[in-house]
Symmetry: C2
Subunit: 243 residues, 2 copies
């Protein structure tokens, strides 16, 4: 009997992988994932079987991984960022259902909210919400409700999947919802290609964010009412009193 590791790779660079993820990838014989994620690791672990499926075929990908593990392979199903947050761990466990086999181990990794925050300074020092703008699997009305609730509760907010080919204007729509509650000069930032070639960060206001040309490589951060820029970094205070 094999085993299935669902592995969070982190943002993409080796340094931001966990030791545990590195060891799982070294130990496995088969690596399965979306092809962009396979490209992140292929050179470092060359002696494995690599299999990919495209976007929208995640159930097939997870079934392939479960099947290979049941057949005796030690499989690493890899995800960018964390294996749980918008990752494949949940779907793997749903598809395995009440079977005890194969054994599944979920290996956490740095999700973009965490790695992006570190790139920007410290925007998530206090309570925050993580919301995906992808309505492929979720009603847009629910996404709007979550955006309004987060803003109304003065939470910092991280937006995943702010745009894609078929959804170029979702970030603008999200900002319009937020601007019903938040001021236009609220500090925001966009972290792009975190941990990869072309990594960049942009600091801007919420009003400017509405017109920012986001793409699928971007993670968006919206500050709370205490967030401010300090020496070019985005900082949300925890509330410590000093001096």
């Amino acid at each position: 009997m094999g085993k299935l590791f669902v592995v969070g790779l982190g943002p993409g660079d080796y340094e931001n992988m966990t030791v545990r993820a590195d060891r799982a990838l070294s130990a496995c014989d088969t690596v399965i994932g979306y092809h962009v994620y396979l490209d992140l690791v292929r050179d470092r672990y060359p002696d494995k079987t690599y299999s990919s499926t495209p976007m929208t075929r995640e159930a097939e990908r997870c079934r392939m991984a479960l099947e290979a593990a049941k057949n005796g392979s030690t499989v690493a199903l890899v995800c960018s960022g964390d294996s749980g947050v918008y990752g494949m761990a949940g779907l793997v466990l749903e598809l395995r259902g009440e079977d005890d086999e194969p054994e599944v181990e979920v290996i956490p990794g740095l999700s973009a909210c965490i790695s992006g925050a570190a790139l920007l300074g410290a925007p998530l020092t206090h309570d925050f919400a993580v919301i995906s703008l992808s309505d492929r699997l979720t009603e847009w009305e629910l996404i709007e409700r979550r955006l309004s609730a987060a803003a109304g509760a003065d939470l910092s907010i991280v937006l995943y999947n702010p745009a894609s080919h078929g959804r170029p204007d979702y970030l603008k729509r999200a900002c319009e919802i937020l601007l019903e509650t938040l001021p236009g000069d609220r500090p925001c930032a966009v972290a792009r290609s975190i941990g990869r070639e072309g990594e960049s960060r942009t600091f801007l206001t919420l009003s400017e964010l509405a017109d920012f040309p986001a793409d699928m490589f971007c993670t968006v951060f919206i500050g709370n009412s205490s967030t401010r820029m300090i020496n070019g970094q985005m900082v949300t205070p925890r509330g410590y009193r000093y001096n």
Copy 2:
């Protein structure tokens, strides 16, 4: 001129550290932090100067780290979990202010929401909120507002600092707020001492959670309306349709 690394150690075990955190700790000459966190790394990096300050003296700790780095040391200011999320990165940047020196690098780590989720299955597959129940620096009314907002928006919720010596009943108070909106049988879980000796997980309903004897080593997870238990693990579906 030295440098200050603000390092997220992850939950506490070596395997769940990032390669980058390991390298920063190996390279530094001085390690500063709360003594519990220093104990996590002392044996593995024995040839360093170790300095600690107690709880409630975080500003002193950060100033000590900034001063040592200004004086030429390569300093690692260590935090459990992530360096940003309820960590020291924000306070370091606040205290450094508009000075360019010393150089500060924020190294992200696995925050308890991420590492705890992986231990429990996949409770954070979809949108979620992270809220601390500590009112040392934050008004309890704001915490309540955030709890209500998160529950009302059908977000999964992660509670940090669910209890401490002076705050034994805060988890009960938080659950009472949540039970105004959520059903008593909502799946929840408590991850305790993640990545450390005595690591444990408890699955229970929201009603049961109200009476759970939480302590400072616990991270609490509350599911959204789709969350369910599958083969002993807590799973929040992303919404993928299969079969």
